[in-house]
Symmetry: C2
Subunit: 411 residues, 2 copies
């Protein structure tokens, strides 16, 4: 009798690991590697927030399982200020990263999961861990890699009538870097068909045009929101996330709370105090500047990559591009990425990890391989960002993009 | 179609919550409450460890999913120094609290779970979340609330042949405060019947006689160890735990790592650096003194409670006693605790939460309702602890015990 449950054995390890291992090997061999694989904010956590963490370092009591009341209130106000929707502090659960919040959602949820292609690497394995069936909605480049209202409705009607459904939406999107423009139409379909939406808003503060759009604005009663400090606040390794649940899902929230109490118990105490500062303090200037830098670097990469060999959608948020390589054939996108890494030192992640068919020659590129602190300090408030600055402060990105572009030209 | 999975709906909320709510209400009404319900270390985290946390507060990179290598190495050395068993750093997974480690174990494990009565509140609900069947082994006061070798073997043979089995052992025990004396014999039965053991060693550093006994010494190839900073280091709210897995379970460990990568990702970065200090620094003096205080307070409570109305086993570790009330009949131990709280202001937890039959008039008492920092600072190195000091530095415990004792006498 196998010691491990079947559905767990089947959860495949992400190809990310393969690329990371290979990158490490190349670096150990003295080769230069352009780290465009891992998606981590390059910016430091704002000093004030770090100092609040220090001030609370000695606190060691268990905080309430749902999260510090002050923090839940701060998150509630933050969401209201961004979306105009009221998720009260009673409807918010603080988690060690938004990934944990999503896993608990899957574990509690009795139904099927809808995922647009492309979607973040963890949605599908999480659904598999919880034995929720997933259905992919194919999307098109011309629709910015988001489903149209028609595509969503067809999928619902074709596949999964009479079942509970959660659609997971992530905008700006990892891996595409695109922003969803038809939230209102999607909301209408969701409402009509009584499906729920998990709006993964971990990148929404990194929308380059500065607007914070959320499907909760158009469908508050059916939208769960997840978010956290990892991206906009540069605090990936801190592990602070949340999930906000609409009023009519009170019972579901109760199950999430039970699961929280039987897993991580409560989030690290000093960190929760620091997060109060992050969500209630004024970090608009920090956000504006980091967005400006990411937009500048993203556009530089975009302009220098797009060609008759590389299809690309312009960057609109987060810190990703999703190049598709034309005129080349490898067994799958994993092999494509291995070959690119070998030939150029540029580490990318294969599109197959994000729901694309393995044969599609598509990859995710994270343009964060630069010293964010240095770049941030060099940009004046309301200052302009030039290509010259990108060349000066993000030399690895510039060099890696050039190598990748040349590689594609030789295909 | 229910929105929540059946097995999750069935996970009952701990009666702890009911008692906590009731306590809060009483406090809000201006009544004095003796907080003997919640089990939290009263001592501060050692200053040096707090200062390492501060020094690393600005670090925000994601650490490796399995945990910082330096920390895994420190935990490996710590376990070797305590048990003489080598769990290499590759065999250790760092988790946000040992509870999370145990849940992941349940989620991955394909088999049944053996729990001695009494056992910690979360083992059974965690098994239910992961749909693992649990079997209780009844234990006796005269055997210190641990199963005998015979009792263990009978349960294995009677119930669950041809299945994978994990026995969860916790010594010193929550809720009984007893130490398991027959680990060697239990190990023999486990080995013979090829069952696995999860040794929950979260309290083992708080064994009052100073010895660290672990079933891994007698059955290293089949013992998983979980532990963390919550109890011996006073850092419950910090959420830092680990699980150590024997070599022959490499595949199982791989599944745990996959689950880690799909849930919490990695533990808070500054905290992991602080934990390196906790596991590699010399905290023997701190441990000795906190053990001495807990032993002194525990014995005071024991001596002033035991009577012909209250059965008690002497405290040997952790910070719990498990009084059984004679000559009284309530509907169940939950009602017993509610009545005690109403009549005396003493908050206890019902034995039914720990696996006892609800009708058994038994409860858990945590004797940590005192200012641990103050007490610790007042105790000289190698100084003696007197009843007078307990009365001075743990007045709530002294008063609450008196009220409880008087209440029992009037039954």
């Amino acid at each position: 009798m196998n010691l491990i449950k079947k559905n767990i054995t089947k959860v495949k390890q992400s190809a990310t690991l393969v690329i990371n291992e290979k990158s490490k090997q190349l670096i150990a061999d003295g080769k230069k590697v352009y780290s465009f694989g891992f998606g981590q904010s390059p910016f430091p956590v704002p000093e004030k927030i770090v100092s609040v963490l220090k001030d609370n370092a000695h606190k060691k009591e268990y905080l309430p399982m749902q999260g510090l009341e002050e923090l839940r209130e701060a998150v509630s106000k933050y969401l209201f200020s961004q979306t105009g929707v009221n998720y009260s502090k009673e409807n918010i659960l603080i988690t060690p990263g938004s990934k944990e919040a999503m896993l608990l959602m899957h574990v509690a949820f009795n139904g099927d999961i809808l995922l647009p292609t492309s979607s973040w690497v963890s949605y599908e394995p999480q659904a598999n861990i919880a034995k929720n069936k997933t259905h992919w909605i194919k999307t098109k480049r011309e629709n910015n890699w988001f489903p149209t209202a028609d595509e969503l409705e067809k999928k619902i009607k074709m596949k999964i009538k009479n079942k509970n459904i959660i659609l997971i939406l992530n905008s700006p999107n990892n891996p595409s870097g695109s922003v969803c423009k038809n939230l209102k139409q999607l909301a209408k379909i969701a409402k009509k068909n009584k499906i729920l939406v998990l709006s993964d808003e971990i990148y929404t503060d990194l929308t380059f045009n500065g607007s914070y759009d959320s499907i909760s604005k158009y469908y508050p009663e059916g939208t769960l929101i997840s978010g956290g400090l990892s991206k906009w606040c540069g605090a990936g390794g801190w592990r602070l996330g949340f999930i906000a649940v609409p009023d009519k899902l009170k019972k579901f929230l109760k199950s999430l709370k039970t699961l929280a109490s039987e897993s991580y118990s409560t989030v690290n105490t000093p960190l929760q105090y620091a997060a109060v500062e992050a969500y209630s303090g004024d970090y608009e200037n920090y956000k504006n500047k980091t967005r400006k830098i990411l937009e500048g670097v993203g556009n530089y990469a975009y302009n220098n990559l797009k060609s008759n060999k590389i299809l690309l959608t312009p960057p609109e948020g987060a810190f990703y591009l999703m190049p598709e390589f034309l005129g080349t054939k490898f067994k799958n996108s994993n092999h494509l990425c291995e070959k690119i890494l070998e030939d150029t030192g540029v580490a990318l992640l294969p599109g197959s990890d994000f729901g694309f068919e393995p044969k599609k020659m598509i990859a995710r590129l994270s343009y964060t391989d630069f010293d964010g602190e240095n770049f941030l300090n060099s940009l004046e408030d309301n200052g302009n960002l030039t290509d010259g600055m990108v060349e000066k402060f993000a030399p690895n990105v510039v060099e890696g993009i050039k190598k990748l572009s040349n590689w594609a030209k030789k295909i």
